[in-house]
Structures are given as structure tokens and as C-alpha cells.
């Protein structure tokens, strides 16, 4: 293998399984078990990208979720992934990766010119310029936009599936390092339902990169045994490659599991990701800790890495990230890295330690290995272009505030830094526990939990293995106990390690004059340097939240995982306050970015984005060529075009056929509610504006329902089936709302009323048979009813039989025609429809849809709630005050009607409009004016709510809401249209056809 930086032995990679991959068009090899980052390093590639603002060369910093630099575009076409973190991408065969945000190439990037003029680009520079000339801003902005952004959005649709699942458990454990595994064992052995998630492919966390011992065994053996045991426990679920990214209220966590991204493209099957919605009784957070870099001049060169990441590359991936290494630290843990590098055969030039002394066992082992330890020293600058070449070291004062003495240059190609550890408090903070500053350990640790939750291990600031294990076992036991399981597992054993305390060092001082020092970066992804923080503070941005927003610190895809705490430390110092006073910015989901696809899941497309509610006759409508209209969630036939017909042709034909002979409409979508109990009529008196006490049994009445604000909310026909029994129709879209509103009144306001409501919307299929021949058609298939006008008058309801089946026929009409609504249980809906079609054949019965229904009702001036009303219209505005009782003491909304504005007599009122040109149809939504030539703003007097060409009238008709319209009959209004035309129309009564109502009265 050509992986020249691969260490000959060790590591957890599969040496027998070599994989090919390409980076920026060149082909390389790696091994199964590598991440993209480790494979690149194995090939000696350090420079992987350019920084966002200055386009400086950047290398791999970390080995995990915190990575700010190694952000790649993976693959092309439908499988492309923007902004993938190479440190978390598992290598697979033929993986294709390229750098983002550089042009034309990574090596030669034109915008690296920004670096030269970087002095002109301090934090927030764009607020201070680009303002002149005013018209140029959009052009400047265009250029700014082009320069920003990292990866590219896919250009084609995603072909992958995304799964969802909901789960409940006793104990959810986030993080499967040794702490998480221990907690899982404690709770799992006790029989609790446990879910253990870890974002990595393997459980074990940091320990996979170490040679620690637990219970006397090498830690990797212990991990293997623990995982094996957990896998056997029936109530334990292990989710690898799963990130807990959101910790919401009531122990609800969202977890993103990656199912296939680690496989070669042609081996991927099934869903790509799975979103788990988990509701846990108890949560244990064992999310570990992240190492912080140290902030010094030019601390961003390729070849500068976190010390723990170096150890991970060496120990876990068997990769040597450098041949000559310098370690720079302010705490003990990086000494281990020195030993690891040394063991791997790299030369460790020196350990530069900010502390005046280091005498722990670990430090002494480093000295014994012959490695120079430079105490009271700091790396103050570095050099190198696309790769680190050397670092410069100076003496550091004991308070860390100044450097002095000679600059000593150490040549090296790797600088491993450790500025201390930051517990991953993200989830704990998301859950509401405010992170607390621990001065001694120089870290934010999880605050007092506000949910049923505990943090353990390094996530809790407990960096020592022995104590981590005890803490984890205790938390696992306690969580299981809280769920009713008897649990008292003893903690696994490990040896204590004594280490020297950390010396906090937020910004390595420079020997250069203030403001003139080279850039020292905090947020590598957003190119935020210490000078930016100081500038922000100087300009008055003192809140850490302001600093974040002014400098963009922590705004990136890494959300400041490596930079924020350093930034807060520098801000605290600049403002001369403590870090505790400075505080953190708000931790929010997502812990790491999650695909939109996984959140959308399968709830997409014509079938699953939103339910399409269908009537029992839906299949017939489809088979007969109906076009459908969305009405709420319902699919309603809109019109039934015949070959070659436009919508207008079809509607004209349907209208004429219905008026002249007979038409049929699927009216099943109307809401239907049975109202039963001795107080039913009394209840309707409150719900509706008109009177219900005296409605005879077997008769129906039209009613308006108002909101308490007096505005029309719904309308419909209600039938009295018995003294104490009614059957209410609501609008199709309003059904659910009307039912829950009526239930609410009954349950909360009038619980003493004896009324039961039952929705039967779905039970009944309804066909409206409409037109002069409707009686013949309906009576042909329906027995047991006397259909004569006298016996079965308008607004009556009767029960009869269709074959053996009991049916209900209501003689109600929304068209002004003789019409019957035929109802059968929906299981027989299609049967009923076909029988009616059969019976109607000799009258050329014509199915019609909602469009024709609209025209027919508009010809009669009937309103549609939601089209001719908009939440600001009263019954009186509609000219239907006959439907409002003058005698009732109360009904919902009544009191509102006498408010000064509502009681005005010159409100917008429903009128008819006839255009000057009979053929020209006013567009619905046209605004009406008295004087089209008036100056802007042109005073408007109303708008067109419904408008059609009426084939039956032979001219266009419209309904409009016009100010004081009822007093303006015969007057002219104008509709100025977008295309410049001005249509002239005359105000009329909103009634255009069969004005005497003769047709329904037969």
C-alpha cells in the first residue's frame, strides 16, 4: 500500500481490506476502518481546505465531531453530500471527496488574496461599508454571497429513503464510551429497557485510542465483552452511528442513525438514515469531552492538530500524522500523545508546557523517554505554507500574561496542542441545565439537571477513568432504580492516575505590539481570531451573545465546539471579568448537523405529504376522468372534462345539463354530526343564529354559525330527526373545527346540557341529484317514499329503501333546482352512485364537480363560507339577516353584533355585479373602485369574491363585497386589472337566475 504514513502495526483498521478513494480528483488508498481523515493523513495529506474568509490553507484539526476545517463535498449527483466532516466519514470503496470553498483549486485559490487584504476585513466590516452608491449594494451582495457558503446543494432530487421510528425506554444513554457502556451494563443487567447510542461506528469512545486497563484487561477487550453482553440483553438496544442531536422537553430526544453512508455506493440498500424519536424515563449523558486547541499566532496551519486527535490517529488508525512533532500543552493529557508518537517512531522534538512544572508520573515517563520538556514556555508563532514547518517558542510568565526571552525555533511538521478539556455539555445544556464554570478544572460542566437526567464520565468533567467508571455505574444503577428495577452493579475497576493541575491559557501572549500580531484563530471555520473578539469588545459588544453575532464565532457547522470556550476566555479577559460572568452562548439543537431528509422522513410526495381524504365514489370519479380540487384534505371532483374540453367547456356543459335535465354531485365530504339528547334544540339555539325549537320533525333548516366575534364561521343544513335528535351538516373544510368547538361548549361551558354529538361524516355517502328530472331519477331507485311535492316538500327529509338498504333522502338544494340528496352508508356509496347513474341514463344524467356547483349556487346568490366570507363578514353583511333571530336572548356571537363597528349599516355588503360586456368575466379577487382614474392610493370600495361565466344566464355573473353596497343598486363600479384593462360593472342584487325560485318549488 502506498499509504506512507501508515504505522506498520496496531490500530483498529482492517489491513486486509484496502479501499480506493479519490480526493480532489486524485486517487488514493486507505483501509477499512479508516475515516476519510485518517486515510488522508495516512497518505500524508494535511492541507484539506481553505478557510472561509481569508482562504488560508487549513488542515485536519481533530478526529471527531468537533472538526472545523476538514469539510468536504462527497460524491456527485443524487448521492452528493455537502459539508461532510472528514473526521466522521467512514472510508468506503471508491469514495469521492473534494474540498469546498476554493477556486479554481485547493492549491491555487484566487480568493486567498483576501488573506493579503485581511486587515481591511475585520469583524463586521460589511456593516461599515458597501453603502454607496445605494444602488450598488445588490451587486456587492451578489459577490459576497458567491464568496460565502461551503459545499454545494445537490442539484438533483434525493433518491434515498429516510426512516422514522418512535421508542420509549427506561434509560437512554447518549454516548457509548467506557462511561456510557458502564451505565448501560448497570441498567441493562437489572432488566431495564435501555437504549445506548453512539455517533461512532464502534462503541468505546476515547478508550479505543488508548491502552488503559479496566478490570485488569486491556480496555479494548473490556469494551468488546461489554458490547457482547449488552447485545445479549433482550431489553437493551444498541444504536451505533447514531447521534443524539436534540434533547427536548420531557426527556424527548431525537437521534439520527446513519444506516448506509459508510458503505460503498453500490452496496447501499434500504433507508439511508433513521430518525429515532425517543421518550425516556431517565437519561444518562456520557458524551465525553473535547480537547481545546491553544490560541497563538498562526495557529491554523495544516499540521497543527489536537493532541488527543494525534493519539487517536496513531493508536486507533495506525497513522503517523507527522515525523517531527512538537507538543504544546497546558495540562497533562498531551504527555500521553508524546508517548504515543514516540512509540510510533515519530520524533518528538519537545513538549512545550505552559506550566512552570510538570512532575506527574506521565510527565516523568516522557522525560524518561528522552523527550525534552520545556516548562514555562509557549509556542508564540509558527511558519510554513501548506504544511507546518516550524514553531517558535518563548518563555511564558507564570501568570500566562506575557512572553519573554529569545524566540527559539523548533523545526517540526506536526504541532500537537492541548489547551485542556471541555466536557460535551451540549445535550445537558439543551435539556435546560445551565452549564457551570469550574474554575479549578477550567471547564464548563453540566449544571443541575432540570429533567430526569444525569451526566457521567468526562461529559461530567470527570476526566479520570477510575472515577468515570464509578460515576457511570452509580448513574446506571440510579436510573434503573428510578424505573423500578433493583440495580446495584459494582463499578468496573481501574487504576487511579495522578495528574498535575491545568494552567488555563486562553490566549498565548505575543511579543508583538497590540493589534500587530499575526492572526491567532479561535473559530477556524469562520476565521474568527482573537483580534476580532477584542475588536468587538472595544466597539461595545460586551455580551457574549453580541460577540457571537458580531464576529460569527460559533456560527459554523461545528457550532464552535473547539473555539467557543477559548473565545469566551479571551472575551472575559478583554472585559476584565470572570468566565463565569461572561457565560456561554446558548446551546441548541442540533448537536451536529442532520439532513433535512431524515427529518422529513417518508412524509413527502403526492401520497404521504398530507392525507388525501377520499369519498366512497373516488374510484368512479377517477375512472370517469374527473379533475380534482383540494378542499381541505379532501379530494373533490372539480369537473369531468370530456375529450377535448377545456374547464370552461366542461363546466358550461355540466351547468346546462343540470339545469335542463339532471346532474349528480358527490356531496359526501360535507361534515355530518348527529346531535342527540333532550337539550339538543336548546343547544342548537346557542350554536346557530336562527330558531330551532319549533322545527318540525322530518324538516330541515339552514343555519349560520358565528364565532363569538360575530363573524360567520360555518353554515349548513340541519335536520330534525326526532324531538331530541338532529342531524347537522357542516362545510367540508369546517367539519372538524365545528365538531370540536361544539364539544368544547358542551364539555366546558354547559356540562349540564343533555346533548351527545357523534360524527358520522365518514359513515354516509351522499349524492346530490339535481335538476328538473331529479325526482324521476331518485324515485326510480328509491322505494317507500311518496315523492310528490305535497308529501315530500322542499326542506324535508325522508327515509326509504334502495333495494334492501335503508336510505335517507333530503330535499335540499344548493342550486335552486329541484334536488335530492341521497344518503347510503358509504360501504354502498359506489353502488348507490352507479344505480343513480343507471336510473338517470335516460335523462342523460351528468356528473358535475365543485366548479359547476359553484356556478349554480352563484347564479342563485348562495354564499360559500371561506370564499364569500373571510372572517370579517357578518350574516347581515351577506344580506341574510332573515337568518338571524331577533327574538332569541342569546346565541354565540350575538353580543358582538351590536358593537359600534359591527353594527354599522354601511359595512361591506354582498352584492351582485354585471359586467358591461356580458362575456367578460371579472377575475375573482379583483378590487373595485368608484374612480379608476383616482390618484394612488386609489380608494377601494370592495372586491369580487365569486365570478363565473354563466351558461344558463348567457352572460357573466359575479358576487362582490362592496362598501354600503345594498344602497348602491344600479350604480357603477370599476375593476382595474393588472393587465391595464378596467372592467366596468353594475351593482345588482346577488341573484341571477330563476329569481322567483320557481324551479325548486315543483
Amino acid at each position: 500500500m502506498s499509504q506512507s504514513f501508515r504505522i506498520a502495526q496496531g490500530g483498529r483498521i482492517d489491513r486486509d481490506n484496502q479501499l480506493k478513494f479519490s480526493f480532489n480528483g486524485k486517487t488514493y488508498t486507505g483501509q477499512a476502518g479508516d475515516t476519510l481523515a485518517s486515510a488522508l493523513l495516512a497518505n500524508g495529506i494535511h492541507m484539506v481546505g481553505r478557510s472561509w474568509k481569508y482562504h488560508r490553507p487549513r488542515g485536519i484539526l481533530s478526529a471527531g465531531a468537533e472538526e472545523p476545517n476538514a469539510i468536504f463535498q462527497l460524491e456527485k449527483g443524487e448521492k452528493t453530500i455537502p459539508n461532510a466532516r472528514a473526521t466522521q466519514v467512514e472510508l468506503y470503496d471508491d469514495l469521492d471527496a473534494s474540498s469546498v470553498n476554493c477556486w479554481p483549486s485547493l492549491d491555487f485559490d484566487l480568493l486567498s488574496i483576501n488573506s493579503k487584504v485581511s486587515r481591511m476585513l475585520p469583524a463586521g466590516f460589511y456593516y461599515k461599508t458597501f453603502m454607496w452608491p445605494k444602488s450598488m449594494w445588490m451587486k456587492y451582495e451578489h459577490i459576497i454571497r458567491k464568496a460565502s457558503g461551503l459545499g454545494k446543494s445537490p442539484e438533483v432530487n434525493d433518491s434515498d429513503r429516510y426512516e422514522h421510528s418512535h421508542r420509549h425506554c427506561d434509560v437512554l444513554i447518549a454516548g457509548g464510551g467506557v462511561a456510557g457502556l458502564t451505565a448501560a451494563l448497570a441498567a441493562g443487567r437489572a432488566g431495564a429497557r435501555v437504549i445506548l447510542v453512539d455517533e461512532q461506528s464502534e462503541f468505546g469512545g476515547m478508550a479505543l485510542s488508548s491502552y488503559d486497563k479496566i478490570d485488569g484487561q486491556p480496555v479494548s477487550d473490556w469494551i468488546q465483552a461489554a458490547v457482547a453482553e449488552l447485545q445479549e440483553l433482550p431489553e437493551v438496544m444498541l444504536l451505533p452511528r447514531s447521534t443524539a442531536y436534540g434533547y427536548h422537553d420531557y426527556n424527548f430526544l431525537t437521534i439520527n442513525q446513519r444506516l448506509t453512508d459508510h458503505l460503498a455506493l453500490n452496496n447501499r440498500k434500504g433507508g439511508r438514515e433513521k430518525l429515532w424519536h425517543i421518550r425516556a424515563h431517565q437519561v444518562v449523558l456520557a458524551t465525553g469531552a473535547m480537547e481545546r486547541p491553544l490560541v497563538h499566532s498562526n495557529n491554523d496551519r495544516p499540521g497543527i492538530m489536537l493532541a488527543s486527535a494525534v493519539s487517536t490517529y496513531v493508536n486507533r488508525y495506525a497513522v503517523k500524522p507527522g515525523e517531527r512533532a512538537v507538543i504544546f500543552t497546558n495540562n497533562d493529557s498531551a504527555y500521553q500523545t508524546a508517548l504515543d508518537l514516540n512509540a510510533a517512531g515519530a520524533q518528538v522534538v519537545a513538549v512545550v508546557d505552559a506550566r512552570s512544572q510538570s512532575s506527574s508520573e506521565l510527565a516523568n515517563m516522557v522525560r524518561s523517554a528522552g523527550i525534552e520538556v520545556m516548562n514555562s514556555c509557549a509556542v508564540v508563532d509558527t511558519s510554513g505554507g501548506k504544511r507546518l514547518q516550524s514553531v517558535q517558542v518563548m518563555s511564558l510568565s507564570s501568570d500566562g500574561q506575557s512572553v519573554s526571552g529569545q524566540r527559539r525555533t523548533l523545526s517540526c511538521d506536526l504541532l500537537a496542542v492541548s489547551g485542556g478539556w471541555s466536557p460535551v455539555v451540549h445535550l445537558s445544556s439543551q435539556s435546560g441545565a445551565k452549564a457551570v464554570w469550574n474554575e479549578e478544572a477550567a471547564m464548563f460542566i453540566p449544571g443541575e439537571p432540570v429533567q430526569q437526567q444525569a451526566s457521567v464520565g468526562s461529559a461530567n468533567g470527570t476526566l479520570e477513568l477510575k472515577l468515570s467508571l464509578i460515576e457511570a455505574a452509580n448513574a446506571g444503577n440510579a436510573a434503573a432504580k428510578a424505573c423500578g428495577f433493583d440495580s446495584n452493579m459494582k463499578a468496573p475497576q481501574s487504576d487511579a492516575v495522578i495528574s498535575d493541575p491545568i494552567m488555563p491559557l486562553w490566549l498565548v501572549p505575543s511579543d508583538k505590539e497590540k493589534g500587530r500580531e499575526p492572526k491567532a484563530f479561535i473559530d477556524l471555520q469562520n476565521d474568527v481570531g482573537s483580534a476580532d473578539i477584542e475588536l468587538a469588545a472595544r466597539e461595545g459588544f460586551h455580551s457574549v451573545e453580541h460577540v457571537k453575532r458580531y464576529t460569527a464565532m460559533g456560527f459554523g457547522t461545528d457550532q464552535g465546539k473547539t473555539g467557543n470556550i477559548n473565545g469566551m476566555g479571551i472575551l472575559a479577559k478583554t472585559l476584565n471579568q470572570t468566565i463565569a460572568e461572561t457565560g456561554t452562548t446558548t446551546y441548541r439543537p442540533n448537536y451536529t448537523p442532520v439532513t433535512f431528509g431524515s427529518m422529513a422522513g417518508q412524509n413527502l410526495g403526492s401520497r404521504l405529504f398530507d392525507p388525501a381524504r377520499k369519498t366512497a365514489m373516488h374510484g368512479w370519479h377517477e375512472e370517469n376522468g374527473a379533475e380534482f380540487e383540494d378542499v381541505g384534505q379532501w379530494k373533490r371532483p372539480w369537473y369531468y372534462p370530456k375529450a377535448g374540453e377545456t374547464i370552461h367547456d366542461a363546466v358550461n356543459r355540466e351547468c346546462l345539463a343540470t339545469r335542463n335535465s339532471v346532474g349528480i354531485l358527490d356531496a359526501s365530504t360535507l361534515g355530518k354530526i348527529e346531535i342527540k339528547g333532550k337539550d339538543s334544540a336548546q343547544f342548537l339555539e346557542m350554536m346557530y343564529t336562527n330558531n330551532w325549537m319549533k322545527l318540525p320533525v322530518g324538516m330541515a333548516r339552514y343555519g349560520f354559525m358565528l364565532g363569538e366575534d360575530g363573524m360567520v364561521m360555518d353554515d349548513g343544513v340541519t335536520i330534525r330527526l326526532a324531538e331530541d335528535h338532529f342531524y347537522m351538516h357542516t362545510t367540508s373544510g369546517g367539519a372538524a373545527g365545528v365538531l370540536s368547538s361544539m364539544e368544547r361548549w358542551l364539555q366546558t361551558e354547559w356540562p349540564e346540557m343533555e346533548v351527545f354529538l357523534t360524527s358520522v361524516t365518514d359513515h354516509w355517502a351522499t349524492a346530490a341529484v339535481v335538476g328538473p328530472n331529479s325526482r324521476k331519477v331518485v324515485s326510480a331507485i328509491c322505494e317507500g317514499i311518496d315523492f310528490s311535492a305535497e308529501a315530500f316538500p322542499f326542506m324535508a327529509s325522508r327515509v326509504g329503501k334502495i333495494g334492501e338498504l335503508e336510505c335517507r333522502i333530503n330535499r335540499i338544494s344548493f342550486s335552486g333546482e329541484l334536488a335530492y340528496e341521497v344518503n347510503l352508508p358509504a360501504n354502498y356509496g359506489r353502488f348507490m352512485w352507479e344505480k343513480l347513474m343507471e336510473a338517470g341514463a335516460k335523462y342523460d344524467i351528468t356528473p358535475y364537480g365543485t366548479e359547476t356547483m359553484h356556478v349554480l349556487r352563484a347564479e342563485k346568490g348562495y354564499v360559500i363560507v371561506g370564499q364569500d366570507t373571510d372572517g370579517s363578514i357578518t350574516v347581515d353583511d351577506l344580506g341574510m339577516s332573515w337568518a338571524v333571530s331577533k327574538t332569541k336572548v342569546d346565541f354565540l356571537g350575538k353580543r358582538s353584533l351590536t358593537r359600534p363597528d359591527t353594527a354599522r349599516t354601511d359595512r361591506k355588503q354582498l352584492v351582485g355585479l354585471l359586467t358591461e360586456e356580458p362575456d367578460s368575466v371579472l377575475p375573482e379577487g379583483a378590487q373595485l373602485v368608484n374612480d379608476p382614474g383616482a390618484a394612488t392610493p386609489v380608494p377601494m370600495v370592495g372586491h369580487v369574491s365569486s365570478s363565473y361565466y354563466s351558461a344558463c344566464c348567457g352572460h357573466s355573473i359575479a358576487m362582490a363585497l362592496v362598501k354600503d353596497g345594498r344602497r348602491r343598486m344600479g350604480e357603477t363600479v370599476y375593476a382595474p386589472l393588472a393587465d391595464g384593462r378596467v372592467l366596468k360593472a353594475t351593482i345588482t342584487q346577488p341573484l341571477f337566475y330563476d329569481k322567483e325560485g320557481a324551479k325548486s318549488n315543483v
Binding site: 456593516y127 458580531y550 457550532q559 422529513a600 413527502l604 360575530g710 360559500i864 378590487q927
Partner: protein, 416 residues
């Protein structure tokens, strides 16, 4: 006070940026002011700015309980448009639009107002009727607007799925070319700087805890930094207006709800306009930094927690992917919430209150960012003169008694 420009930038670069002045001063509060503005959001800061600039009142304090711009101003999806339906709102928002168009120059602070246009999509026949109605009204009110069809939309927004086979296909849209987005934080900072330059004291970490009154007249406020006196107090605290009203002894027709938003990781420009959809329910634009800025729905329950429920996020993201299937593999970076003050008619309340000298400006709910300069401008007039400007006369508390609501919810759901 130095002016911002490319030259001042160059000059300061020479001195290594050591000499920039504070954007605002953060002084200690005085004992007494002519006017106190409670709430250092965009609206409060704009009010102070225009009070000083247009009405010559210089002795003003803005009291902010946290950091300025940290309320809804700092957490909104930054959409600016003026294509409202009713005359009253259209004129108010259009006033704001006109101010936006010169705001960066007026403030000498680049608020990055980007007039990239806003599309409001229609997905069913009633949506289209409403769009026609609104656009027609807009044109007659002198506000730019067009109704556009699916083909034109597809040309303008190639990433949008306009397939007729969608669950809710795009039937058309309203388009306002002058509409767009602005850099929300810069709006707060720009107004703060402008106000500060006129002598306004901006006092952060100063929470108002009580409103002092004598004989039905306001005399000042109690704060976490002590008592501060003033004969006029303007309250502009968005989600917290009921809390302040409670201090003053009256109630508001307001409910405070969580409203959530989210951003993707930054990507190269793919969307150079703003797309909103009511029926599918989501709206999206792309910030200058490259992240897709996405607005989610309002949570139904009362909430002062600056966070909402995950189901809202999930529904919104599904809506966005339904509209823009190519974003499926793009990742969501961060989500957050604000506290929006909703009114029964989705219109603001700006004007006098039962307490003399106490003025309220609130109820902007889910959509007040776009009004920021206009709102401050009319409220300044109202406070300075003691009576509403004609642009905010219709937005008084009295409308809830008279019934003169200005219902901007748009038409109720189609029902037939």
C-alpha cells in the same frame, strides 16, 4: 462621531483597528428621562432613534433586560415585504418599506437590506383568489406586486418543485420585487448607533419590574438598576407585553407563543429570492452567509421559553423538502425559538393605553421585523405628540371594543 465608510475602514486598518469608537455607549442610567423606551429590540431602538431625530427629544433611555436585539429581533427569518391586504396595514408596512429603502444610508450602517423579492405561493383555488385579491389591492395602494404562474415561478426559482403531481401543487404566487431580507442584528445595532449618536442612553441588563403611576399617569419605572423617572414611557417588549401591561394594571388582547426557526449549514448560493407558502407551511431564503433560513410554524400553546416543539420543526422541514426536494441531503445546523405576541386579528397594537403617558407598541406577532423602521417612526410620533399618527390610528386598543378589527389572517379555510 465618525462616519463609517470604506475610507474610515482603511484609516482604521492603518491603526490596526485599535481606535474604533463604541457603537453605543452603555452608560449608567440617569435618575430621570423625558421618555423611557422599555425594550431594546429593533422596534424600541427605532422608536428612540426617530424620537430623537424627528421630534428633537434628546433625553431618552432605552431599557433592555438583556442584550439589545436579543428578543425576536435577533431570532427572526428577516423577511421584509409590504404586500398586506387591508389598506391600514398596507400603508403602515409600505411606510416601513420606504424607510428600509434608505435605511443603511440614513443610519450610516449597512443593514444589508436585500431586495431580492418575495414569492407567496398558492396551492389551491382559494389561495389563488386570495392572492389575486391581495395583489390587486397592493397595486391600487401603490405597492408593487404581481400574480405569477407556475412556469414563471419555475424560471425564477429553478429549485422549486412545481410538479402538478404534488400533493399541493404550486398553482401560482404573488411576487413583490421590492421585498426581501435584511441583516437582523445589524438593524438593532444600526438603530442603537443612530440613537446613541443623538444622545439616547441605551441601558442593557436593566429589567423593568414595575411601572410607577400617580393618579392614572405614568411617572417612571422600577428596574433592576433602580427607579428611573419619566413622564412618558413607551413599552415595546413584544412577547412580554402582557407582563408589562400587568405591571400597569390592565390586560392585553395578546397571547405569547413560541415561534421557531432553523438554519441549514452554509452552502453556495442556490436560492436568490424568498419563498413562502401558507398551505404547505414553510418559508425559506438563503442568507448572505449561505445558510438556508427557514421559518417554522407557531406552537399552539402559550410559551415564554424561546423554544417550541420538535413536531413543528419536523413538519416545517417536510414542507421545505416537499417544495425543494433537492435540499433533502442538506443538513440542518441549528434551530431556535422566539416569543411572539399574537393578536386576534394578526395586526399590531400601537398607541395610547388606559394609563396616561404610557404607550404600547406590540402585537407584531410572527411578522413585525419588516415593520421595524415604520413601527418606530409612527410610535415616535405617537409618543411625542401624545396622539396616534394617521398611519397607526387604526391600530389602537379600542378596536377590540368597537369591533374594527383588521383581519390579516387572510381568508379563512375554504369551505364548501
Amino acid at each position: 462621531m465618525s462616519k463609517y465608510s470604506i475610507f474610515s475602514l482603511a484609516r482604521n486598518a492603518m491603526s490596526f483597528h485599535q481606535n474604533w469608537e463604541k457603537v453605543w455607549r452603555s452608560p449608567e442610567p440617569k435618575k430621570q428621562y423625558d421618555v423611557i423606551i422599555v425594550g431594546g429590540g429593533g422596534h424600541g431602538l427605532a422608536t428612540a432613534y426617530y424620537l430623537a431625530k424627528e421630534h428633537g427629544i434628546k433625553n431618552i433611555a432605552v431599557l433592555e433586560k438583556g442584550w439589545i436585539g436579543g428578543g425576536n429581533t435577533g431570532r427572526n427569518t428577516t423577511i421584509v415585504r409590504s404586500n398586506y391586504l387591508w389598506d391600514e396595514s398596507a400603508h403602515l408596512y409600505e411606510k416601513a418599506m420606504k424607510l428600509w429603502e434608505g435605511l443603511s444610508q440614513d443610519l450610516n450602517y449597512n443593514v444589508m437590506f436585500s431586495q431580492r423579492g418575495v414569492y407567496n405561493l398558492g396551492h389551491n383555488l382559494q389561495d389563488m383568489r386570495d392572492i389575486e385579491r391581495r395583489v390587486n389591492a397592493n397595486r391600487l395602494n401603490g405597492i408593487d406586486g404581481y400574480v405569477v404562474g407556475p412556469e414563471e415561478i419555475k424560471r425564477a426559482i429553478p429549485a422549486l418543485n412545481v410538479d402538478a403531481g404534488c400533493r399541493y401543487p404550486v398553482l401560482g404566487a404573488s411576487f413583490q420585487p421590492r421585498a426581501g431580507v435584511a441583516r437582523h442584528d445589524a438593524v438593532a445595532w444600526g438603530f442603537a448607533r443612530g440613537a446613541d449618536q443623538h444622545g439616547v442612553d441605551i441601558i442593557q441588563n436593566c429589567e423593568v419590574t414595575a411601572i410607577r403611576q400617580e393618579n392614572g399617569e405614568v411617572t417612571g419605572v422600577e428596574t433592576s438598576k433602580g427607579t428611573i423617572l419619566a413622564k412618558k414611557v413607551g413599552v415595546v417588549v413584544a412577547g412580554h407585553c402582557s407582563v408589562l401591561a400587568d405591571m400597569a394594571g390592565f390586560r392585553m388582547p395578546i397571547e405569547s407563543h413560541p415561534l421557531q426557526a432553523l438554519v441549514s449549514e452554509p452552502i453556495k448560493p442556490v436560492l436568490d429570492t424568498v419563498v413562502m407558502s401558507n398551505a404547505v407551511h414553510g418559508y425559506v431564503s438563503q442568507s448572505d452567509k449561505g445558510d438556508l433560513v427557514i421559518g417554522a410554524g407557531i406552537d399552539s400553546y402559550t410559551g415564554y421559553g424561546q423554544r417550541g416543539s420538535f413536531s413543528g420543526i419536523e413538519h416545517t422541514v417536510a414542507a421545505i423538502i416537499e417544495m425543494f426536494p433537492i435540499f433533502s441531503r442538506v443538513r440542518m445546523n441549528r434551530q431556535w425559538g422566539g416569543i411572539v405576541d399574537t393578536t386576534p386579528d394578526a395586526c399590531p397594537i400601537i398607541g395610547n393605553t388606559p394609563v396616561k403617558g404610557l404607550y404600547f407598541n406590540c402585537g407584531w406577532g410572527t411578522g413585525g421585523f419588516k415593520a421595524t423602521p415604520g413601527s418606530g417612526w409612527v410610535f415616535a410620533h405617537n409618543i411625542a405628540t401624545g396622539a396616534p399618527h394617521e398611519l397607526n390610528a387604526a391600530f389602537g386598543l379600542d378596536r377590540f371594543t368597537s369591533g374594527f378589527l383588521i383581519d390579516e389572517h387572510g381568508a379563512a379555510g375554504v369551505a364548501h
